[in-house]
């Protein structure tokens, strides 16, 4: 008898949607705020609705579109009573607008489109409380996606964490811009290869090449002008390629990009030991700056670019990189200028430092080009 049972199970399992997966129960809830209008879409698995309120009216083991449509009022009553939306702590009236169907990896889902009446003013915050299916299946999760303008954030709602407060409103664009600005600053500060490239090019700024040897620069004006040229060239170059890559106009394989970045640091550092380029370091900064831009672009891609606020994110991130860069230069320049006459700077920092940078960058180059891990 048991054997027959198991064989039956196997046959039924085979018939019931070969390509569909089994996973724990999830629902997909999207909430949108656009110009003071709050709306949403809720995908709930037919299996879950069947278990909770029953959909299979004729009991034949299949749920048809007709059976689902017939239960629309019940589904809305059941689901929407387990969702509460408050705008700025005032309750919103939620009402069903439409019923459709969608497929997810584990089967068919009912798609409830609804609207929330939260008053005429654009809400600053939305408080969402979720309790669908928790009484029947504590492993159920509500996967909430909140879209405001072109940004979106996701949360997982569970019996342990059934509520969440969402920030809506106009402040969002500024907040987004600042977010990307901060990311730009952060990523130049942790981008040692970018920093070492820039520093290698700037180490000679407080010196002057005469007859093949380096002497301390006479006046600050010359140094300042030199630093300005190098930093500006680097900035312009990497801004160009960062934008082109972020907008998907050009795309280069990351292994190539990372290797060339490492190479640029080696060459810039070696140039201090055996000067090949002195007056035209700004040109080197520009040329390699183009490649560094691709490196930044991959970071930005990892952060995720909101499709509508692309420019906002790009400008914010780029400005952040420049701010971070400027901070480093502003810290380095006065110090280097003050020390430029001493042997500590000319032998220690300039020579030994450049050699050390070249060595480290050479290791990076080997690691990145041959996909190894030496350090």
């Amino acid at each position: 008898m048991k054997l027959l049972l198991y064989v039956l199970c196997a046959l039924v399992a085979l018939a019931a949607g070969v390509a569909q997966a089994h996973k724990p129960s999830d629902s997909y809830l999207t909430l949108r705020v656009e110009n003071a209008v709050v709306s949403g879409q809720w995908d709930i698995a037919l299996r879950d609705l069947e278990f909770a309120i029953g959909l299979d009216a004729n009991g034949n083991g299949e749920i048809t579109w007709g059976e689902l449509k017939a239960k629309r009022k019940d589904i809305e009553a059941y689901a929407l009573s387990r969702l509460s939306v408050h705008a700025d702590k005032k309750s919103c009236a939620v009402a069903g607008a439409d019923l459709l169907v969608d497929e997810h990896s584990d089967g068919a889902y009912a798609v409830l489109r609804f609207g929330a009446d939260c008053g005429a003013r654009e809400p600053a915050t939305l408080e969402v409380s979720y309790s669908l299916l928790f009484d029947l299946d504590p492993t159920h999760r509500g996967l909430l996606r909140f879209e405001r303008g072109d940004a979106s954030q996701t949360w997982v709602l569970s019996p342990e964490k059934p509520s969440v407060t969402l920030k809506a409103g106009e402040a969002s664009r500024l907040a987004q811009f600042l977010d990307y600005l901060k990311e730009g600053i952060w990523h130049i500060w942790i981008g040692f290869d970018h920093i070492l490239f820039l520093v290698s090019l700037l180490l000679p700024s407080v010196l002057v090449l005469r007859n093949g040897t380096w002497h301390p620069a006479e006046r600050f004006r010359g140094t300042f002008w030199d630093v300005l040229k190098v930093v500006t060239s680097f900035t312009v170059a990497h801004s160009i390629t960062l934008s082109l890559a972020a907008l998907s106009v050009i795309s280069l394989p990351s292994r190539l990009v990372e290797s060339v970045i490492a190479l640029s640091v080696v060459l810039a550092a070696l140039n201090n030991l055996k000067p090949v380029v002195a007056e035209r370091r700004w040109a080197v900064a520009f040329a390699f700056g183009l490649i560094h831009g691709f490196g930044f672009a991959s970071v930005l891609a990892d952060l995720g670019l909101p499709q509508g606020a692309l420019l906002l994110a790009l400008v914010g991130f780029n400005l952040g990189v420049e701010c971070g860069q400027l901070a480093i230069v502003a810290a380095f320049l006065p110090l280097a200028y003050a020390l430029r006459k001493g042997a500590f700077y000319r032998k220690g920092v300039f020579v030994a430092g450049s050699a050390a940078i070249a060595l480290v960058a050479a290791v990076w180059l080997i690691e990145r080009a041959f996909d190894l891990k030496l350090l």
Partner: protein, 389 residues
């Protein structure tokens, strides 16, 4: 095979956007279990009983047990959720009945919450020291955690309450993993033969045939292993474990072609889909890419929920199907924190080898030394890894 491919392809064509079906008669979902079938009838009956007797732990436990069995058979985690809900009136405290605590433990271990599961089984044994189910599950979890001394202690306690077959099986399982696969195989085979006289529960036999197959495999007796696998599969159960183990056996012995018919129809199970994808990749079938992509979507779905129940499979997927050694190593290391069975060690060592990071696999190498586990595969990988240092 072609039909399978067509069905699979059709499912991929489904647009990921909501739609309105054209006809009321369109079937949207086929429910698990046709209404007339005995399993569904039984389930409905148990649900009704539990509903009318909400304070009866027996009724709840029976229903929860049925849900759990369904979860194991189908590989469908929703049933675990239903079981948890049914047991909610009897939370995991000393006041709950032993049977309910054992069920809590089984549900916890299904979701890989091993410390909580062990605590549940402990409470069950305090209430009922003769509860051999709790004892056996403790031994099983300790095997996953590779604490073989503790396993043997549990087996000794288990032996006081069960027949010879189960007692021998418990110890043999530990012995086979600590360098005595051949002897363990002989002892367990003999015990199985003796137990046939008084009849064996098919579920128990399935477990034993799977273990015997693994023991024979490890001690190099491949034909014998094949016989055990066939015997287990011949019992007619749906069982993820034996299917996965046999698929691994076939893959390791260059018989990937046999994996396809074996696992046909099991795409819905993540663990078996992995083996299908590996075999299809090995055989350079077009389906290999589709399977791999589906697997990626499954893992992404799980990540959305913030769950990591299939890290071993994900590590294997990242290593052998996505060719991403660094990500595979990260997943394998994360996995090894809670699960230390031989397969977990193998994927960690192989990922560390591919990512050229021997230090990362140190715990697995230590386990290999300490346990004396017999496997050409793992030992070879470990030797190569150590040579990297």
């Amino acid at each position: 095979m072609a039909l399978f491919g067509a069905v699979f392809a059709a499912s991929q064509l489904v647009v990921a956007a909501p739609f309105v079906p054209r006809d009321d008669a369109v079937v949207l979902e086929t429910l698990p279990g046709k209404p007339g079938d005995p399993a569904a009838v039984e389930l409905r009956r148990l649900r009704a009983i539990a509903a009318t007797a909400p304070n009866d732990p027996e009724a709840a436990a029976t229903l929860a047990r049925r849900y759990f069995d369904l979860a194991m058979e189908e590989g469908d985690p929703r049933y675990v959720g239903y079981a948890e809900a049914v047991l909610r009136p009897w939370p995991e405290t000393a006041a709950a009945p032993a049977d309910v605590l054992v069920l809590h433990g089984k549900l916890r271990q299904y979701r890989h919450d091993f410390p909580a599961a062990m605590a549940d089984f402990d409470l069950a044994l305090k209430a009922d020291p003769a509860n051999f189910a709790a004892r056996a599950w403790r031994a099983a979890i300790l095997m996953v955690q590779a604490d073989y001394a503790a396993v043997r202690r549990e087996c000794a306690l288990l032996a006081e309450h069960v027949g010879e077959l189960q007692a021998v099986a418990c110890v043999a399982y530990a012995d086979a993993t600590t360098g005595n696969a051949r002897a363990a195989h002989e002892r367990l085979s003999a015990a199985l033969a003796r137990a046939r006289a008084s009849g064996i529960d098919p579920g128990v036999e399935l477990w034993i045939q799977t273990r015997l197959a693994e023991m024979a495999w490890r001690s190099g007796q491949l034909a014998q292993a094949e016989r055990h696998f066939r015997a287990g599969l011949g019992l007619g159960f749906n069982d993820n474990f034996i299917l996965a183990a046999y698929a691994d056996f076939l893959l390791e012995n260059d018989r990937a072609a046999e994996v396809m018919p074996l696992l046909k129809g099991w795409v819905r199970s993540d663990t078996l889909l992995l083996r299908l994808a590996l075999a299809a990749r090995r055989l350079k079938l077009a389906a290999g890419d589709k399977y791999a992509r589906t697997l990626g979507e499954r893992f992404a779905d799980a990540a959305l929920r913030g769950e990591k129940l299939h890290l071993q499979e994900e590590a294997r997927y990242l290593l052998d199907l996505k060719d991403d050694p660094k990500a595979a190593l990260a997943a394998a290391r994360d996995n090894y924190r809670t699960q230390r069975e031989p397969r977990d060690a193998l994927v960690l060592i192989e990922a560390a080898l591919a990512a050229r990071d021997p230090a990362a696999a140190a715990p697995a190498l230590q386990w290999l030394e300490a346990s004396g586990f017999e496997s050409e595969n793992i030992r070879r990988a470990a030797t190569q890894l150590k040579a990297l240092r």
